[in-house]
Symmetry: C2
């Protein structure tokens, strides 16, 4: 963890350089933050150098959890020291929202931030998107010990394919694709007239399905070209990165054969068409604008990015309900998206249909299949447990937020926006508002929900379960 | 089905006699309705007398579904013919809401109804509460053929104990307990000064967990004594009737050993205390009134009865969210309550906790238990499928209601109020409003949801699945 903290201070150094180039007022706060992170990291490293125990299952869970918390604790320092976020709770919320790629913000005037802080804000999302520990696995030899356990703790999705038998190679390849797409998006955005700085920041937060924008009104005022580029890269970011790897190797047939991808594609189109139809019927917008707005919002919410090019809360009851439902979907497994994930929803729906078939033919053995292969019962049990826990945490979160004074819509909206790592929700935390009005207690609760969502529940829940601490 | 329709006409005859006694304007409409039901029933019986095929699994599902639909189709005639409900859709909605013990009403002035119709309205709930088919099984020898299949189709709950190896005896005992408790409640209500007529009607709708009241403001204006009596009988109606059977035989230890009952009791107290605390904090009500109001509303919603003695929508955000959550609970399995049922929720929560334990000890075999016995995997799979389908139908219902113009709260409220067989919901269909403003299409959709909820999803869903109609 000491080493990982030194890595964070390295990224703080980069942001400091950005601050230096653009001559911002935040230079000193970066310097202090970096110094603190680096010293604490170095000291921790030195003090624990002698112990070289192999990581057991339990330690892996704890380390993974702590790394994310510590990264947020130290990562919030520049916001706090610079005075741009006067309360530490707010700074922590903003940073946790960054690392978990949620994108929920407490900033009322984003554009007033100096360039260094804007860069750091986007960078937190980019680091968190593909995974802090995955990054460490790719670049550090030392974590090879127990690396697989850490990998599972950070990326517990049901079907993340290992691209290479060695975990280090897999991590390298995933980060390689991630960097490549980020680079491509920068080029495309600049081609549309966006500045280099904004292009880099937005590419960071698109590929991470994070959703932090440098603009106060998110992406409402950018050109349709730029909106379209962002749609495409959000969609890619919400696709299983193994599929992107195959695509880059020319194996396109593997993509269409993937059931999760087909449904991801189909769900996106279905919801887009339905909302477009409603917007057209309202009669206020042209066909093109209706379609683009619908597509952008659906992809943004489905991939849990959270950018906005329109206020879906002004679209009427039916589109709001659809958007709310889409918030539960999440991208594909093995993508940077949050939420429940398409593959889980797909398998659960499939099994429900099969259950009816089983009722009619009680003696027949009717297995659940994905990509024509039988899904093992223990995997499906785990998926169901995930769904149940997800709903349970959603209900608990809604209860907690309502105790703190939010109405039902806002309580549900803030909870799913955090738990699903989306950013905007419904009620008072819609795409045109932010989380600044939430109480401090509420912000800590939502921060925990973000981390639960990012680590896909189990890693965090396991640590909080009494079984974990029993001998 | 012909015979069953003749049974319905017999109950219409009883209502006609009530109308005759009280000299209401609805006498003729009952006469016509009874005549139609009896003739159609008799003709159907005569015409199919020769075929005596044994009932197969599929036919049982269809018969069960059709019986409920046909009972509502004919049962709505008196409302329609009398002119007190001018539109047939409304009359059907009111009747389906009766038979399914939902209690959602479209009547703006209940007290203007003649006594005969009020009696029939309560009687539909009483018949539907313990089950139309169960009643037939108890009194008709002919249904012995395939009776078990019908029994399963109407009462598919996970743990309904058979009280006797013969299905006919079980049905008789269940109906016997049901009649006994209804009779007891009448005595207790009359003791509190309620008229015989109102006592009978309210006992019918309490024991059925139906919730139709003869008063426009439900039970707001009755004495605390009567409210307390109703609480006790609602709670009994939400308890597994097998446990009541044991209690009547003096085996009280069996009750406390029952895990579902213990949690039913604990959940009720927990939610009551929490809401009482909030109401006390609001400072408007005394401790006694706060507790009684909380307890009444929690028991009413948890057992899916739906009576009201206060407007919970005026209690503030947190109590509203709790009430909304309670609506998903439902009574115990084997009770007359609707909803998901405590035992299902209990097992799902238990398994989620065990799943965390399994993550920490991946090689250990950790079975799920209820009442100290291991729950068979196929039963648990069925429970999970039920939960998933319940959520899915809830989402679809909410979507449908929002298409028809309801906001999110109203759409969710109307859906769970119907699907859970509760009656009042949240939003525009709260305890102080009714369903008269819902569109006709909406009323048909909600009627279907009520029936799905009453028959616990599978029976209805199976018929609508394509597998059912394949050879």
């Amino acid at each position: 963890m000491g080493i990982l903290l030194m890595i964070e201070s390295f990224f703080l150094l980069i942001s400091m350089l950005i601050s230096l180039i653009y001559g911002g007022s935040d230079l000193f706060s970066f310097f202090i933050s970096m110094l603190i992170s680096a010293s604490v990291g170095f000291l921790s490293y030195i003090l624990t150098l002698k112990s070289k125990k192999k990581l057991a299952r339990r330690e892996a869970y704890i380390i993974c959890f702590l790394v994310w918390v510590i990264f947020s604790l130290f990562g919030s320092l520049p916001f706090y020291f610079s005075g741009h976020i006067p309360f530490y709770t707010d700074a922590f919320f903003e940073t946790m929202s960054g690392f978990t790629t949620t994108g929920a913000s407490i900033l009322n005037d984003i554009e007033s931030l100096p360039k260094g802080l804007l860069f750091w804000r986007s960078l937190t999302q980019w680091m968190g998107g593909m995974g802090i520990i995955l990054m460490s696995l790719a670049i550090l030899p030392i974590l090879g010990i127990g690396g697989m356990q850490l990998f599972i703790a950070e990326v517990p999705g049901p079907t993340l394919d290992k691209l290479h038998p060695r975990i280090k190679e897999t991590a390298k390849r995933l980060w390689g694709i991630y960097i490549l797409f980020t680079f491509l998006e920068v080029i495309f955005l600049m081609f549309g007239g966006m500045s280099l700085f904004d292009s880099v920041c937005h590419s960071f937060t698109t590929m991470a399905t994070g959703g932090y924008s440098n603009y106060n009104t998110s992406l409402i005022n950018v050109s349709p070209y730029i909106q379209s580029v962002v749609i495409i890269f959000m969609f890619i970011a919400g696709t299983n990165f193994s599929l992107s790897f195959f695509a880059l190797n020319g194996k396109f047939n593997k993509i269409w054969k993937n059931e999760e991808f087909r449904y991801y594609f189909a769900f996106t189109l279905l919801f887009t068409f339905v909302i477009s139809a409603v917007l057209m019927q309202n009669g206020k917008q042209s066909l093109g604008k209706s379609f683009l707005d619908s597509l952008f919002q659906v992809v943004s919410l489905m991939t849990t990015t959270g950018y906005a090019t329109a206020d879906y809360l002004s679209w009427g009851h039916f589109p709001i309900v659809i958007c709310f439902i889409v918030m539960f979907f999440g991208g594909s497994a093995g993508s940077t998206g949050g939420g429940i994930k398409i593959v889980r929803i797909l398998l659960i729906l499939k099994n429900s249909a099969l259950e009816l078939k089983r009722l009619i033919h009680p003696s027949a053995i009717i297995p659940l299949r994905l990509n024509k292969k039988v899904v093992r019962p223990e995997i499906f049990t785990n998926i169901l447990a995930f769904l149940v826990l997800y709903i349970l945490i959603f209900v608990m979160g809604t209860l907690a937020m309502s105790i703190l004074g939010s109405d039902l819509d806002t309580a549900m909206g803030a909870t799913i926006a955090s738990l699903g790592n989306i950013g905007p929700g419904i009620g008072d935390v819609g795409p045109m508002s932010n989380f600044s009005e939430i109480s401090f207690v509420g912000k800590w609760i939502l921060s925990l929900l973000m981390l639960m969502g990012r680590l896909e529940l189990f890693t965090v829940l396991v640590i909080f379960s009494p079984y974990f601490w029993k001998k």
